[in-house]
């Protein structure tokens, strides 16, 4: 896992720092960033390991039963507390409906890959292959196996499966994560289909209307729940799209730490796109005081980069607990209503 073996070296340990004990490359193949806070991470991780162990035992008991992952309050609670990585792909497949689709359409993915290709789509995907996770050793051209081929296959297949969407930047990162977790092209394809076709609103189609709508919806939710921040954004003329478009399009990839993103996705696959608002609201609410220090436009933008760093977002377990308490109640009814009004406003121009 994340720790280098430390057995039998206790004598030296005192002289070692956290940086010596923790791998430069994380469990998913990502190089840790230059400014990675090894000491805080180690402190967090030693506690998190206990949680992971406890959850792993609970999950294996749950999975031993036949109806293990039928939707239920218990499963929802379990998922909020984190899916152990060894079960993650399977649980995502089941709760998102991707498994059912895959079972209904045997051979479909292969057929897409063998079919004729749209040149423009292929070119767009190719432009981004080297620009998807260059910081991950498994996506490097020089590594073997290199996951770029899988990435290419899934994106091109998806573009032909869903011609309305084709390829939209951002899908490369999402697919990359899916491949890292599932280690399986076809499963990644069906999970991508679950996200884009069912779980998320229309974020990736050429008009990106779902994305624009949700950015506005977030603005409205902030106005209701954190009005001081909404006032600041208004007074400085900062459009939400400037600071949050990447949050929505990349589903927090490269915004928050990998482990935190995966924990968010656990909930996203089970509970739907509402989770994205919970995360956004929590980040903003928790760091409200810092945001409100901003005195001008550039400051406001800088603050939105600051609030996605630090122990608060790294400590994924506490963070996920927070997203269900900090923003207060958030019903799907409220969100749907806001989506309707915001969308109508956007369409009218």
């Amino acid at each position: 896992m994340d720790y280098k073996g430390i057995g039998g070296r206790s004598g030296q340990e005192a002289e070692e720092t956290a940086k010596d004990r923790i791998h430069r490359i994380d469990a998913y193949g990502f190089e840790r960033p230059k400014d990675f806070d090894y000491a805080s991470y180690e402190e967090f991780y030693s506690g998190y390991l206990e949680i992971l162990t406890r959850r792993a035992i609970k999950w294996s008991k749950l999975l031993q039963r036949n109806n293990g992952v039928e939707k239920s309050l218990k499963v929802k609670r379990y998922i909020r507390k984190g899916i152990p990585n060894e079960h993650r792909a399977m649980i995502w497949m089941i709760v998102s409906g991707a498994q059912a689709e895959m079972d209904l359409n045997p051979g479909y993915y292969r057929k897409l890959l063998e079919g004729e290709k749209n040149d423009r789509l292929v070119e767009a995907v190719q432009t981004d292959l080297n620009r998807t996770f260059p910081d991950n050793v498994r996506f490097r051209k020089t590594s073997s196996p290199c996951l770029q081929q899988e990435l290419y296959n899934v994106l091109v297949a998806y573009g032909h499966h869903n011609k309305n969407i084709g390829y939209c930047q951002g899908m490369n990162f999402i697919t990359g994560y899916l491949i890292l977790i599932t280690r399986d092209e076809e499963k990644s394809f069906w999970l991508l289909d679950a996200l884009i076709g069912r779980i998320l609103p229309d974020y990736y189609s050429p008009a990106m209307i779902g994305l624009k709508t949700d950015q506005e919806v977030l603005g409205e939710l902030i106005r209701m729940k954190i009005p001081a921040v909404a006032d600041l954004m208004d007074s400085q003329g900062v459009m939400w799209t400037l600071v949050v478009s990447r949050w929505f399009i990349c589903l927090f990839i490269d915004i928050l730490p990998v482990e935190t993103v995966l924990r968010i996705w656990d909930c996203l696959f089970y509970e739907g796109s509402k989770i994205l608002f919970r995360v956004a609201l929590t980040l903003i609410k928790q760091q409200q005081a810092r945001i409100l220090e901003a005195k001008n436009f550039p400051d406001v933008c800088d603050k939105f980069k600051e609030i996605i760093k630090g122990p608060f977002v790294m400590e994924c377990h506490t963070f996920i607990q927070k997203i269900f308490t900090a923003p207060g109640s958030l019903s799907m009814k409220t969100i749907n209503k806001l989506r309707d009004t915001c969308k109508a406003r956007l369409v009218q121009g």
Binding site: Q169, F173, T241, R246
Partner: protein
Amino acid sequence: MSRKKSQKSRGSGGSSSSSSPAASSLPPKDGGKSCSPDSQVPLDGVVVPGRPSLSNSAEFYDLAFKVMLVGDSGVGKTCLLVRFKDGAFLAGSFISTVGIDFRNKVLNVDGVKVKLQIWDTAGQERFRSVTHAYYRDAHALLLLYDVTNKTSFDNIKAWLTEIHEYAQQDVVVMLLGNKVDSAHERVVKKEEGEKLAKEYGVPFMETSAKTGLNVDLAFMAIGKELKHRSMKIPNEPKFKLHEYVKKEVKGSGCCKS
């Protein structure tokens, strides 16, 4: 979007000026009450000299401007920005920009600290409808194409049309032909870039984010132009952007094109 504007003008009355000492000496913000808010350049974000402001990076600056990088996907916008910001180019270390992102850099322009907030945008066509809402706030736009990619050059006209439609009339636009280090793969001649730039009356230069050729110059030229526009210093000769660029620009050397 339209709702946003009206709220912005409502909210800009008292709170912003009282909460922001640096902005208090600004002209009335965003012209909400004046005739046509859309046709005026609200120089919001510009901090007036004499009231240094502390940014988050703890760097003082006298003036701040918004610069946007635009152009097709893969022409090297992020590389250009990283080269300017950090003086580095690490091949194979760049990720495709999704949506919109920014980096800050404070430049010393003739003794004045000018903070450029540089917005890096996704080049893919569908993102334009997300990012062009921001054009109207930009003080300068750097429009890039890739000299090894003909399509990216052919699309420049469409980009300029879009810029004219959404940006402020007096926005500073500069055309950059990037990747001139790839001399063997070049398909767009320097003269073609010059001709197009002349046609649209914008300054032009060829750049290489990889070698650094003309990168600092591009941003410095923008910084100088914006600084001279916002600070009228008596007896100072008028800054001429086109002439400055012509005088300072360096050729790519090896390649005769």
